[in-house]
């Protein structure tokens, strides 16, 4: 089943067309990697899907709901965007909160479950991502890998269907890249739709089920 789909997606920046008529879709459990040189608009594409950038024309469909139809955004975008999680290149963990608090705060804000249930879920995630020992540490005291796992756990607590990774290997040591590949593969087995933007073709080959190359604002149709 297609969980995310774009039709004729266009995005301009200061009069320059960054993304031209992108038609793209991805399915549950599928790992897609988008490669390309820097400045090609890979990250912009990801940010459009996460709702951080507004597209100029075209449509984005998430699950069965339209986020944008022919360039017109629906009213309640936040409800639809809840299905999308984004792991930033520099993770953007909240520096004033501990790892545990970082993971819990989105769920507490959204009042997804009762507070106690949220604590239970966060404990599970901490365990799953091997963060139990550092759960009371602040992000500034974590290693790159720990930060990334914390960021993934923070995104997962909101129960998204689609997880977007922006250059996930850029701040990892080589031995941690393998670990990341494993984490991502596990997530795909849990039926998450995964979209990775990376310039690291080796990592893309290792991890992804299919690789698309973004060039001149175009993504070859799938």
């Amino acid at each position: 089943m297609k969980t995310i789909e774009t039709v004729n997606l266009c995005k301009n920046f200061g009069g320059k067309e960054i993304l031209k008529n992108i038609n793209f879709s991805a399915q549950n459990g599928e790992i897609t990697a988008i490669t390309g040189k820097s400045g090609e608009g890979k990250t912009t594409f990801l940010r459009c899907l996460a709702g951080l950038e507004k597209i100029d024309s075209g449509s984005i469909k998430i699950e069965d709901n339209c986020l944008v139809k022919d360039g017109i955004y629906v009213k309640n975008t936040s409800k639809i965007l809840k299905k999308v999680g984004l792991i930033f290149q520099n993770f953007n963990l909240f520096p004033h909160l501990t790892v545990k608090e970082n993971i819990e705060i989105p769920a507490l804000n959204a009042k997804m479950y009762e507070t106690r249930a949220i604590f239970d879920v966060s404990q599970k995630l901490l365990k799953q991502f091997k963060l139990e020992n550092v759960q009371n540490s602040f992000p500034s005291n974590l290693s790159g890998g720990q930060k990334q796992r914390a960021a993934i756990a923070r995104a997962l607590i909101l129960n998204p269907d689609i997880i977007l990774f922006d250059e996930p290997t850029s701040s990892l040591d080589p031995e941690l890249v393998e670990e990341l590949t494993e984490i991502i593969k596990k997530l795909s087995k849990q039926n998450y739709t995964i979209l990775i933007v990376t310039h690291d073709t080796g990592f893309a080959n290792q991890t992804a089920d299919r690789i698309l190359a973004l060039k001149d604002g175009d993504l070859p149709a799938v």
Partner: protein, 489 residues
């Protein structure tokens, strides 16, 4: 070797400068510096041509006719320090004789008599001393009127005593009814009111607070100069010159020389208080101003900062203008404006009158510091990575949640050192509130130094300010450590 040479050269330079200084000082012995408060017409004041003129000026010029006379405006509160440190030679300024002044300076025989009279608004219901109960009394700080009134038994029954820098301010207060009564020198007040044609706006009570003698002061032990002045005055009396000058200024002869038995005993001696109680009282006021200002200005600054980020262009412009005005004009001017100026604004002025000096001061401080804090917080906002609010957005935070849970805690952390800096400045700025008549640590110290001639009080006050600032810095250090979150952001 080079260093040694430099040191020796420096020493010789300083030494020769000192010698030269002594020489010039000796050469200038033919010069007399007379210190005066230039707000005391008709004794000594600035004319429309910005020249110092007055009754005392004419007398002094006559007495020192063979010398170069320099009239030096001074801070009246610091007159004892000025004269005893040799910055000025003579104080000749309608100065009354008091036991305290007799102790700290060398005084001539009286040359004039003056009563301390009570002036009220012409519409006032106050008729006599009895009516002063529960009334607000305004006096010129450090003046004989002020001392005489504080020592008069009625002073314990009035609502409050406000001390202002000069008599004109006191009379303004009476005219505006912000104070009920002022106690002033008869000579000064009458001359002023007649000269300005304002006599009709006030009435003078029949009873007086005290009578006093006007004397001239020189540095302690400077008998030579004192004799010179006294001989000069005697000669002027003989020649009729003194009478002539008096006629010019008062229309009558108020010059009074032969009779040295005077009414000076009527001014009760001020009990000599060497305690630091005034410092403690001042400290308390200073701390109150500081804490209230901080409590009000921080949230106000934050609100201004948040509103400035709004999309409303008019609101943005207004806040920008507000911060620019508050940061671009002297705090002292703002204090004057809020307390003295607001009531004069047409139509809304009367609703903006703040009668309580302390409140007006704290309000001004809070408004002023809010502007600074707003800018500090704005800097904090700019200092936070855009990714933080984006992360919050992707994680489904509402705008308010993002502001209060993600941005503000970080801004607080980033801006702590700057806020600390600003608070330390505030501690010292509180001293400005004295300009609108609220006595605090520094002004109380100044008074204490003048009444006891003990400069150590300055050191004590300095130590107190330093201590407050050190404590503040420590508190902020603790806060910084507490919110450090394991290191840098």
């Amino acid at each position: 070797m080079k260093l040694k040479k430099i040191l020796v050269t420096c020493f010789w330079l300083i030494f020769s400068a000192c010698v030269f200084n002594f020489k010039t000082a000796a050469a200038l012995k033919n010069e007399i510096v007379i210190g005066l408060d230039v707000n005391v017409p008709p004794m000594g004041f600035l004319s429309e041509n910005n020249e110092i003129v007055g009754f005392d000026i004419d007398l002094a010029k006559e007495v020192f006719s063979g010398k170069k006379v320099i009239f030096q405006p001074i801070d009246w509160d610091a007159k004892e320090l000025e004269i005893n440190s040799g910055k000025i030679d003579v104080i000749w300024n309608g100065m009354s004789k008091t036991p305290q002044r007799e102790q700290s300076m060398l005084l001539t025989k009286p040359y004039m008599k003056n009563r301390q009279i009570i002036i009220v608004n012409k519409n006032s219901t106050i008729e006599n001393l009895e009516d002063l109960k529960n009334k607000s009394v305004c006096v010129q700080k450090g003046s004989t009127g002020a001392d005489a009134f504080k020592n008069h038994e009625i002073s314990s029954q009035v609502r409050n005593i406000i001390e202002l820098e000069n008599m004109v301010n006191c009379l303004n207060e009476i005219e505006k009814f912000t104070s009920d009564v002022t106690v002033v020198d008869e000579v000064v007040a009458k001359y002023y009111l007649n000269e300005k044609g304002l006599a009709g706006n006030f009435k003078v009570l029949n009873q007086e607070i005290s009578t006093e003698d006007y004397v001239i002061a020189v540095k302690k032990n400077n008998e030579e100069l004192k004799n010179e002045i006294e001989n000069g005055l005697s000669a002027m009396k003989e020649s009729g010159k003194a009478k002539e000058i008096s006629q010019k200024w008062f229309g009558t002869n108020l010059f009074f020389w032969e009779n040295s038995k005077t009414a000076s005993d009527e001014v009760p001696s001020k009990s000599k208080n060497l305690s630091i109680a005034p410092l403690i009282q001042g400290l308390w006021v200073t701390l109150k101003i500081f804490s209230l200002t901080t409590i009000f200005s921080l949230p106000l600054g934050l609100i201004l900062c948040i509103l400035q980020n709004s999309k409303n262009k008019i609101l943005k412009f207004l806040i920008k203008a507000y911060t620019n005005i508050m940061r671009g004009t002297p705090l002292l001017l703002q204090l004057f404006f809020v307390f003295y100026g607001l009531p004069y604004i047409p139509i809304i002025g009367e609703y903006l009158t703040i009668k309580d000096r302390f409140s007006a001061g704290v309000l001004t401080f809070a408004l002023n510091y809010a502007a600074y804090f707003a800018e500090i917080f704005r800097g904090g906002f700019l200092g936070i990575d855009k990714g933080q609010s984006e992360a919050a957005q992707v994680l489904g935070f509402s705008k308010t949640q993002s502001l209060f849970k993600i941005l503000l805690p970080q801004i607080f952390r980033i801006t702590l050192p700057t806020i600390c800096n600003e608070c330390v400045t505030l501690v010292k700025d509180t001293a400005l509130i004295f300009a609108i008549g609220v006595p605090e640590l520094l002004s109380n110290t100044k008074n204490l130094v003048n009444s006891t001639a003990n400069v150590t009080n300055y050191v004590i006050a300095g130590a107190i300010y330093l201590a407050i600032c050190m404590i503040l810095v420590q508190i902020f250090k603790k806060l910084e450590r507490k919110f450090s979150c394991g290191g840098k952001i």
